[in-house]
Symmetry: C2
Subunit: 431 residues, 2 copies
């Protein structure tokens, strides 16, 4: 396989590609590197490859002409990739796909980057090694070349190749141990020293599942899991961000479709659906707030039917869900209740289906923002009935969560749907 | 800043760290590298650093003792990091945090990895440069060192430092252009050649937003966006995976709580909530299926009230939502309808609140699996009323989607909530 490395630092690659198995692969002719030095294609006395950007800003850019000439000089470039934080992330699947190519050309940008018109001139695929900024594309190219080359047949010494490893199965790798079996009192797990291969397999799978749940819960949604895997995962304790999350459904003050401040009636089904969400996601609690006495009495009557009355016998799951609900006068009372329970004043976030177009409005809270709050503090998330929370409630909140479907102008979801979606975005399956 | 690099290939780093700005930073004493060669700490005649893993499996492991001695030899190690696909991903925020340290020790694993007990002996933080497999930690260490070192004051030539770049604002970087302003007919955008800095700023922000939406929609949820940003994003066309997604609510055959096959009545609020989800997420359509004639008539009467009757005048948004709903006899009729509309037979996925414990059951479909289907084919996602879809419906589906909250045993969500959550997981805000 031929890698054509287009760079202004061709010597950058010398030592990494001379080390270990990569050095051997070069010696054996399995991999060949063609270093294309962009400076060779620069004109003028100074052989300058960089220039200042149009429109101002810090730093310099790689000039178009030397880059174009460098690319033109490659006889069989194959697919042309450019390392860039603007690219799609490199994954093991992408590496596997690329390892089937005969030739690959990798463009390594430097300075602030390249002249954008290079992308108009050549069919360049951008690829990123991660969400961080480097001095140039070379370090990313070293990663890409290694990830791809090691998947070539015969690159690894043994036949199992590079595949039975981290990310090959969508889970993190299990731990390894080697001799001595006792090192300063730290011993190798018993199961690995026995010869029961079934047990060893099972132990390794369980270790992979456990470390994925603990260290990279973000990859669990994409991992292929058997029922046995899931049953094992259920036995493990995990970070339960939901415990810090409280939701409130505010029935007053909210606005009607004319923007007037009104009170909305308590609705049986809102209480059902939201309490089932609260219980399923392990939330701290669910408050229904209304200052109207007969509405509170109605809500309590409904709750009692399901918690203690005929409903609790017919449907014990529902009784469990309704144990999460409290009916209070207003949001302040809910805040006080959380403070009494947890000893911490909750952070208050509002929700809305509309963008906040008030003057000097802060950018909307992202789900990541609120998730960070949940890691250290209780959070009360307030939902409005009717056509949304009144201005005076919004004003009390530390921020307003970005509306669902904010890229479209139609987002007329029921409050029941909005609660389900927002809680899921914050807590998901893994927390 | 001192980087202590623990590796069996100390020469690996020579050329990358001698190139460009990094080479200058070393000359200026801003950065110093301390190469700790693990082989120096190996015992025996052969100075062997690797051994076979307990429990079998391909490849070799780095032995514990030389690694421990190598670490002990470092006088001021500072924080100890190990490059590993098991680690938390390196981010720009992490790089910034690390750039405040005086010393950093980076452990580069090789072969299949290290002996796990090293993690018991030292406070080691694992860090990953991406979801791909390398020959060892060295390539990742090169990335980490570059990402961290370039944030040191004085590393970059200019004062704006490395921060005004990709990922600093949570968006991809805008395009750059340099001279000549006309290259083979490709001209630099007019705005960059004018001197209006306000316009240039706005153009660059819009380019960043557009390329983030096109190339990395996955980072949009975490980006801080103003109302102006969102208004601009709304003017752009984007991949609309929702158009390929159809949902069906099946009222027969489903099971009751005793597992018996039954029909469930059509419910006004299910139709409301689900059609509002279908419209808000731009789905292809929503089918309510029941073979019972008077139930179908009831459903049509409801729909007509909102589509053409008094409801449509009071609430035109609802009329728009209900235009997505069709009432059909069964799932087969819905499949045929999609085939007629699109010319493609939809792939069929079922949903369930329970794990599939049938013998020889396939692992549940992940949301990523179904999202891949949506990229090329219409998909009909079937939801059950009552206590879930009957076996005969499940058997027709290509797979069953992994249950919501699969790590817990309580997931008694309403079907309305489940539909909202599952559609949001597949389509989110960005598609």
């Amino acid at each position: 396989m031929n890698f054509h490395l287009v760079s202004i630092f061709p010597h950058y690659f010398e030592s990494p590609f001379a080390s270990g198995l990569m050095g051997k692969a070069v010696e054996n002719g399995l991999v060949a590197f063609d270093h294309v030095d962009v400076r060779h294609f620069a004109g003028g006395i100074h052989k300058s490859v960089d220039d200042r950007p149009f429109g101002g800003g810090p730093g310099m850019l790689l000039k178009l002409d030397p880059m174009a000439k460098a690319l033109d000089s490659i006889e069989s470039p194959g697919r042309i990739l450019m390392l860039s934080p603007r690219g799609k992330p490199l994954t093991q699947a992408r590496a596997r796909e690329l390892s089937a190519e005969e030739d690959l050309t990798l463009i390594c940008g430097r300075y602030e980057g390249i002249d954008e018109r290079l992308l108009d001139l050549y069919p360049i695929e951008m690829v990123s090694v991660g969400d961080f900024v480097l001095n140039g594309g070379e370090a990313g190219a070293v990663c890409l070349v290694e990830a791809v080359a090691r998947l070539l047949p015969d690159f690894m010494g043994h036949t199992d190749s590079g595949e039975e490893e981290s990310f090959s199965a969508g889970l993190l790798e299990y731990p390894h141990y080697t001799r001595p079996d006792d090192y300063q009192g730290l011993v190798v797990p018993e199961v690995l020293r026995g010869g029961n291969h079934g047990k060893i397999e099972e132990w390794r799978r369980e270790c992979s599942l456990e470390s994925t749940l603990n260290d990279r819960p973000d990859v669990l949604p994409e991992a292929s899991l058997t029922v046995e895997d899931i049953d094992f995962l259920r036995t493990l304790s995990r970070t339960r961000l939901g415990r810090n999350l409280y939701i409130a459904l505010c029935h007053y003050p909210v606005v009607n479709k004319f923007g007037e401040k009104v009170a909305v009636s308590v609705t049986n089904l809102d209480l059902h659906d939201m309490s089932r969400v609260a219980r399923s996601y392990g939330l701290g609690g669910f408050y229904a707030t209304t200052p109207i006495e007969d509405q509170k009495a109605l809500a309590e009557q409904l709750l009692n039917h399901w918690k203690k009355g005929a409903g609790s016998i017919a449907n014990p799951d529902r009784a469990e869900a309704f144990s999460k609900v409290k009916v209070f006068d207003d949001i302040e009372a809910a805040v006080l209740d959380i403070e009494t329970q947890t000893g911490q004043c909750p952070r208050l976030a509002a929700t809305s289906a509309r963008l906040d177009r008030r003057k000097h409005a802060e950018p909307a809270l992202t789900y990541a923002d609120v998730r960070k709050w949940l890691e250290i503090s209780p959070v009360l998330l307030v939902f409005g009935t009717g056509h949304g929370l009144a201005e005076e409630v919004l004003a009390k909140a530390e921020g307003i969560l970005r509306p669902i479907r904010f890229l479209d102008d139609y987002n007329h979801l029921s409050v029941r749907s909005a609660v389900a979606i927002i809680v899921d975005r914050l807590i998901a399956d893994e927390y």
